[in-house]
C-alpha cells in the first residue's frame, strides 16, 4: 500500500522479500494457542457448565465482532476527516475539528452511549413536535445503529489524533516538494504524505482496534445483545459468576490476542515494502 504500483519500487534497493516469513512463531502466537486450548478444554473436556455458557453466549460473540468491525471501518474514515480538519489552514474547520476531539475525549464512553441512545432520540422527537414533522415526532432509535454511532464518534476522536500525529511526523519538506512539483494539496496528501504516515500510525491504529474491541462491551448498556450482555443474562438464570466471567473474559482475550497478532503481521509486511 505504500506505493501505487510495485513497478515503482527501486529495483536496486536491497530486498528482504522471500528471506523472511511474515508469519513468525513467537510468544504472541503461543499465547493465542494457549488461550484457545484453554477455551477448548473448558468447553469440550470440562463441559458442564462451560459448554452451556459457551453455547448461550455464542450469538453475543457474533454481535460483538460485527459491532467492532463495522465501527472500526467507520472510525478509519472519521479519523482521516478529523485529522485533515485538525491540520487544515481554514480556521473554522480547524476549530470545529479541535472542538470535536476535545469534547468527545473528555466524556466517558458509557455516558456518550447513553446520550446517543436515550437523549438524542428525545431531542429529535422534541424538534419534530416543534417543526411538526411526523417522522421525527415518532423517531425511535435502533440500539445497534445508536451503539455504532456512539462508538464511532468516540473512537473517531482518538483516531483523529493518531492520524494527525502520523501526518505531522512526515517532514514538511515532503509536502513542499510535492506541491512544487505541481501536485494539489490533496494529491500530495494521497500520494506522498499518507502512504508514509500509514506506516507510522499502524501500531497505534492496531492498539485502537483492540481497545475498541474491549470497549464494545459497553454497548450492552444500551440494549445490544453482545457478549457481555449474554453473560449477564446467563448469570440471571444460573448464578455462576466465576464460570461465566472466566468464559467471557477468555473469549475477549482470544479475540484481542488474535487481533494483536494480525496487526503485527501487517506491520511486518509493511516494513518489507519500504
Amino acid at each position: 500500500m505504500s506505493t501505487s504500483t510495485p513497478a515503482e519500487v527501486d529495483p536496486h534497493l536491497p530486498t528482504i522479500r522471500g528471506n523472511e516469513n511474515v508469519f513468525r512463531w513467537d510468544a504472541g502466537w503461543l499465547l493465542v494457542l494457549a488461550a484457545s486450548a484453554l477455551l477448548a478444554i473448558l468447553v469440550l473436556v470440562v463441559g458442564n457448565p462451560f459448554d452451556r455458557i459457551f453455547r448461550f453466549v455464542l450469538d453475543g460473540l457474533r454481535v460483538t465482532v460485527m459491532v467492532t468491525l463495522v465501527t472500526f471501518g467507520l472510525v478509519l474514515v472519521v479519523g482521516i476527516i478529523g485529522a485533515l480538519g485538525r491540520l487544515t489552514h481554514i480556521a473554522p474547520l480547524r476549530g470545529l475539528a479541535t472542538l470535536y476531539v476535545e469534547v468527545v475525549r473528555g466524556i466517558p464512553l458509557l455516558v456518550q452511549l447513553y446520550f446517543w441512545y436515550y437523549a438524542f432520540p428525545s431531542i429529535v422527537r422534541d424538534l419534530g413536535t416543534q417543526w411538526n414533522v411526523e417522522s421525527m415526532k415518532n423517531f425511535v432509535a435502533n440500539p445497534y445503529v445508536m451503539a455504532i454511532a456512539g462508538l464511532t464518534l468516540c473512537y473517531g476522536a482518538y483516531m483523529t489524533e493518531v492520524y494527525r500525529a502520523g501526518i505531522q511526523s512526515i517532514p514538511k519538506g515532503q509536502m513542499e516538494a510535492a506541491r512544487s512539483l505541481g501536485m494539489t494539496y490533496f494529491q500530495a496528501m494521497r500520494y506522498i504524505i499518507l502512504p508514509q504516515a500509514i506506516r507510522v500510525i499502524l501500531p497505534p491504529v492496531g492498539n485502537e482496534f483492540i481497545t475498541l474491541l474491549k470497549d464494545s462491551s459497553l454497548v450492552s448498556a444500551v440494549a445490544v445483545a453482545d457478549l457481555t450482555r449474554r453473560g449477564r443474562e446467563f448469570q440471571a438464570i444460573t448464578p455462576l459468576p466465576l464460570h461465566i466471567y472466566l468464559m467471557i473474559g477468555l473469549m475477549y482475550l482470544i479475540m484481542t490476542l488474535l487481533s494483536a497478532r494480525v496487526v503485527a503481521m501487517i506491520e511486518a509486511r509493511m516494513s518489507k515494502e519500504r
Binding site: 467507520l74 474514515v77 441512545y117 425511535v140
Partner: protein, 251 residues
C-alpha cells in the same frame, strides 16, 4: 493507495446505509415496543435453550397482547435504562416486576395492578399456631435488611426481628428452626418456595399494598384502557392464576 480509497468509499457508503435504515414501518397489527430487563427470574429471563425471553411477565404480556390485539416487539435492556427509556418514550411500554409508586407516576403511567407484591408471612410446614400476620406477637421474625418486610416486622408488638442481607438467608434460617417466620414480598416468596417446596409455606393474606403494573410512556396513554381490559379478562378467566402457579408455585 487506490485500494485504500476504494475501502474508504465502501465505508462511507456503509455509513450512509446504516444511517438510512430507520425503522417504524406500519404493519396491519399495531406493533408495540415493550421493554423489559430479562435478568430477574422467574419474572423475566432468557431461556437457556431457545434464547427467547420467558418468565411470568413475558407470558403475561404476550397474553395481554393477544387479548388487546397488538403485536409485541420486545426490547431487552437493563432496569434503570428501561425506566429512563419509558420516561423518554423510547419504548411504548415496560413490564419487569415494576412496583407502582407515586414517584414513578410522575414520569410514566401505569396499568391496573396485575400482581400484588405486598408482604406475606412464611412459616415452616409443620407450624400450626401462626395463620397470619396477627399471630406474630412475641415471635422471632426474619426479614431482608432495608426492605418493606423488615419495616413491617418492626411494627409488630413484642416481636424479635432478625434482619439478613438477602431473602434466601432468612428463609434458610427459618427452615433450620432459628426463627419462627419470615416477612417478605409475595412474588419473591413464591419464587423461593417454587425452588424449595419441601419445608416452608405461606400463611394468611398479602397484607401491604404494593403492586406490580405495566408501565406506559405518557404519550401512549391510549393503550392503557386496552391493557387494563386485557388484564381484567385474564384475571377473570384464570390465566393469571395459572401463570402464578406455573412460575411462582402455589401456596
Amino acid at each position: 493507495m487506490k485500494r485504500f480509497s476504494v475501502i474508504l468509499w465502501a465505508m462511507l457508503i456503509m455509513a450512509l446505509v446504516f444511517s438510512a435504515c430507520t425503522p417504524a414501518q406500519p404493519s396491519e397489527k399495531t406493533k408495540v415496543r415493550v421493554a423489559t430487563d430479562a435478568t430477574f427470574p422467574p419474572f423475566e429471563m432468557v431461556d437457556e435453550n431457545t434464547k427467547q425471553l420467558t418468565g411470568f411477565d413475558v407470558e403475561l404480556m404476550n397474553a395481554i397482547a393477544q387479548k388487546a390485539g397488538f403485536e409485541v416487539e420486545w426490547i431487552n435492556v437493563g432496569f434503570d435504562p428501561m425506566l429512563a427509556g419509558i420516561a423518554e418514550c423510547q419504548y411504548d411500554m415496560a413490564i419487569a416486576a415494576i412496583t407502582i409508586t407515586e414517584e414513578r407516576k410522575a414520569s410514566m403511567d401505569f396499568s391496573d395492578p396485575y400482581i400484588n407484591a405486598g408482604q406475606i408471612v412464611t412459616v415452616r410446614k409443620e407450624t400450626t399456631d401462626i395463620s397470619g400476620k396477627n399471630d406474630l406477637k412475641g415471635k422471632k421474625i426474619g426479614a431482608q435488611l432495608g426492605t418493606t418486610g423488615a419495616i413491617e416486622a418492626e411494627k409488630i408488638e413484642g416481636a424479635e426481628v432478625k434482619t439478613y442481607d438477602s431473602y434466601d438467608q432468612a428463609f434458610l434460617d427459618l427452615a433450620n428452626g432459628q426463627i419462627d417466620a419470615v416477612i417478605a414480598d409475595y412474588p419473591t416468596t413464591l419464587a423461593f418456595l417454587a425452588t424449595n417446596p419441601d419445608k416452608l409455606k405461606t400463611v394468611g393474606e398479602v397484607f401491604t399494598d404494593e403492586n406490580y403494573g405495566v408501565a406506559f410512556c405518557k404519550k401512549k396513554a391510549d393503550l392503557i384502557p386496552q391493557v387494563n381490559a386485557a388484564i381484567k379478562a385474564l384475571k377473570e378467566d384464570g390465566t393469571i392464576k395459572k401463570l402464578e402457579e406455573k412460575w411462582l408455585a402455589g401456596k
